[in-house]
Amino acid sequence: MAVYIHSSNCISPLGFTTKDNFQALLSGRSAIEKIFINDAIGTIYAGKINNQLFDAHFQSIDTLFSGARIEKLLIAALHPLINKHCIKNDSVLIFSTTKGNISALAENQLNDAFIPTTIHNINTYFGFKTEPIVISNACVSGVMALSIAKRLIESGAFSNAFVVAADELTPFVISGFQSFQAMSNEVCKPYDKNRNGINLGEAAAAVYVSDTFSANAITIAGEANSNDANHISGPSRTGEGLVLSIEKALKEAQKTTTDIDYISAHGTATLYNDEMEAIAFNRMQLQNVPLNSLKAYYGHTLGASGLLESIVAIESLKTNTLVPSLGFKEQGTSQSINIITKQEQKPLKAILKTASGFGGSNSAMVFTKNK
């Protein structure tokens, strides 16, 4: 049985629809700007959704809802998909997040900081008839949530799923990444020689997946998750987990490395992550496949990134368009990889999405076209 992605939506600083987001990327726009956070953190480079613009957008969906900001982001991401596909008795809501409504903790609202509280509010808001599922697996959560949706549909547990992913830009997360000395003091430069760390961002992204074939849908042809079993925060020096997950995803998709036309990689712009990926892609003989990272457009949107970047990759696949890897100038990894530097039209049939994150987690997924 195959599982298909039918429609998507993205709420990000670059737009409130998938179409607007993809257009923004094609015009080379980045969401990263200098933002003052607070006295302790100071000013950082990050991607933040403009509250005024978003509130105006949200008014067009619901004028009465008064829940937390992250709940509004989730509703805005899901709303057009639920209108289009309708909730059935066996529809399930799957939520990918690292921190959920963590800003509630700063206001001492411990109950609101529980992720089940947030997702139950959304489940009830839309009237889902099944229990929601939450995946919290660091930076691979978005890809993993999609992989779990596919597997649960294959197993017959559900016939369709609304997968939504979101994380906010909060002092909680910023302060932590600062203490990790992992933040760049400029727009980040994935895979570049002068890269010096990440930018953080925020987004909400959603897709509708089901077991029903449609020529316009995208097939999740293969996927796998593997742990490095090496270190809780540092990427593996050998790229072991990433290699294993790509191998297994390709095998399930019945594809070889030569079938892959494009890679939407993780590319956080830290020294070690990008180096690890370059090693893994070379081990897999994928070094000549055009590849990009979207982190210099959006920043790292954590639990949202895997799904947001999958949606963008699918737009590339559908429109046969390679999006340049913003921020890259000069090869900065010990082994060479084929970074996309200019926008290009190229026939795309099968593409690979990868993600890696804290806890040693790695995920890979192969998407193919049906026509």
């Binding site: 903790l105 992720i115 597997r151 079993a229 040693g360």
Partner: protein, 196 residues
């Protein structure tokens, strides 16, 4: 048809293995209790002391299930209702006050629940499938279906499922290993009993 080959329950200073009590401690404090249990293991693992409470509990529960295990293709499916809130709260305390603002990387790294999966993967060298699920209570239905799907599709040879909860001094871990042969049938009723 799959079976549960071993199950562990840790709560209130007691540990049960396959329903039989193996540890009965009168220590009410979690950190004292879990250290006692760790020190009774033969395996020396100094990293244990660096873990947050959630990881310590997941480490001990996994250790009890996997101590004689040789299979490495074991998927880890951990779950709780609070994510990493216990440590999230500590990190929040370190940034709450601008005059005493000292976020700690060794605390921050544990503000992700799946670090518990990372710690167990490192200890047992499991380069396998894994996922951390968050739900208000253990979701017997989809955990059962997802586990069997992983086994059926050869994405894992065995699956270690676990509820691992640690918040404000309260703790509970219910871990069970699912494989082809075992002592209990892998069905919803038995899972409910194990994770009660």
């Amino acid at each position: 048809m799959y079976s549960v080959s071993k199950y562990i329950h840790i709560e209130n200073g007691s540990i049960f293995e396959n329903g039989k009590q193996i540890v009965d401690s009168n220590t009410t404090d979690f950190s004292e209790f879990i250290k006692q249990v760790y020190r009774n293991f033969e395996h020396i693992y100094p990293k244990f002391y660096k873990m947050d409470d959630l990881c310590k509990l997941a480490y001990i529960a996994s250790e009890l299930v996997l101590k004689d295990e040789t299979e490495k293709d074991i998927a880890l499916l951990f779950s709780n209702n609070e994510g990493s809130l216990d440590t999230d709260y500590k990190h929040q305390q370190s940034i709450q006050n601008n005059d005493a603002y000292f976020p700690s990387p060794a605390v921050f790294v544990y503000t992700l629940p799946n670090i518990a999966i990372g710690e167990v993967s490192i200890r047992h060298q499991l380069k396998s499938e894994s996922a951390f699920f968050i739900a208000s209570e253990y979701q017997t239905d989809y955990m059962h279906q997802y586990t069997e799907h992983l086994l059926r599709t050869n994405k894992a040879k065995k699956v270690l499922c676990g509820w691992v909860h640690c918040l404000n001094g309260a703790y509970k871990a219910c871990f069970y290993l699912v494989e082809t042969n075992g002592i209990l049938e892998h069905n919803n009723q038995n899972i409910k009993q194990i994770t009660k």
